[in-house]
Symmetry: C2
Subunit: 225 residues, 2 copies
């Protein structure tokens, strides 16, 4: 397994090489094809996961079957950590958006580390605080912004995290279908499609297969406010 990504993860950055080496022995490798789930809402969770490569979507399903996505996570990020502190079952389903490799860590193993290493606790607290901040941000967006605004914001966020410079703009290979993008911003696929078409028509974007190229990031930023 490529452990370089994990070595650089903030949670482990403070650890000595020996402690980190001991930890890697406890990691459980998981490989997932697109569309398969790591765990589902309601499952009992005894593990948390680091993303080595690929992308994971965290989603919830309403009783009528509609879905909404809480987050798209990429390499170096961790998820499923809430089971550590709370015995209640998982409140979200984690699904691979693309072919994905994970490193799982049993709660008990991390718990032992937390007992002896206050810096690791601090890092975990920071990670949770940041997630809470992001979620609060999304809440405000849902209340204040219309669908095109939320789409613009989501694209900019994805660009920040997964964007790569291209010849004529920023290539964002988000790997999401428009349906998934719609679930992420809390709107219908059709409305998201129209918002994208409008952005394209204005020359701010170019659409590619499960990707976009941002051509005019300034305008897009302006639209997202």
């Amino acid at each position: 397994m490529d452990i370089e990504v994990l070595r650089r993860a903030p949670l482990f950055a403070s650890l000595g090489d020996d402690v980190f080496a001991a930890l890697t022995d406890e990691l459980i490798e998981v490989d997932l094809p697109r569309g398969s789930s790591v765990f589902r809402e309601g499952d009992q969770g005894d593990q948390l996961y680091f993303i080595v490569s690929g992308k994971i979507k965290l989603g919830r399903t309403a009783q009528d079957g509609r879905e909404n996505l809480l987050a798209i996570l990429g390499p170096g990020e961790l998820f499923g950590e809430m089971a550590l502190f709370d015995p209640s079952p998982r409140t979200a389903t984690a699904t691979a958006v693309s072919e994905t490799r994970l490193a799982g860590l049993k709660n008990e193993n991390l718990r032992a580390l937390l007992e002896t290493r206050p810096e690791v606790s601090a890092q975990l607290l920071q990670a949770l605080a940041r997630r809470l901040r992001r979620t609060n941000e999304s809440l405000a967006d849902l209340v204040f912004s219309d669908v095109p605004g939320r789409v613009a914001k989501a694209l900019l966020d994805l660009a920040d995290r997964f964007g790569r410079p291209a010849t004529d703009g920023i290539l964002v290979a988000h790997e999401l279908t428009q349906e998934e993008l719609a679930q992420l911003v809390g709107a219908s696929r059709e409305t998201v499609n129209k918002a994208l078409a409008e952005f394209v028509q204005r020359g701010w974007l170019r659409l590619e297969a499960r990707a976009v190229v941002i051509l005019d990031i300034q305008r897009l930023r302006q639209r997202s406010r």
Copy 2:
């Protein structure tokens, strides 16, 4: 100051009496009338707060002045803890909903405790995880439920936390104006008012000054799904 509430707070429950006594010396008492703020969005934060009595609303303001509330917190709960892990300024404004007494604790003091007491870290992690869970819940509600549904949900939540049995139902003295309730559920005051009027007309609720009496909690629960 009435420290009984704090002694029972989960964050301190695991501490010995001696450690707790030392901690109380570091607490800073704050009294607030209705409407005054503990801190505002953008402030630099170096303290977190426990609610001894009263209620606090956490809110954000959009650039056009519209507000939305992230949470209503009551006695025993803590807030402002995100400044501990993240140097960035406060992302919400904390305002007293009623006359409120707080106990403030400097970040540095808590940090010292975290270094030596892993149980306190664990409690703090748990508190954050629960908040994140609640926030995710709110997100899903915004996407899936209509305004009456969200109002019903908010009332049930407030009833859980602040309700007291009355002769003909559950008295929920939330102390919020309809405007504040609207900001909490992410809707306009008028729409919230109409939802409340409908519930009253169906005999599920009785309205009182900054309070409601829930008469038929079953139906209200059903409406909230």
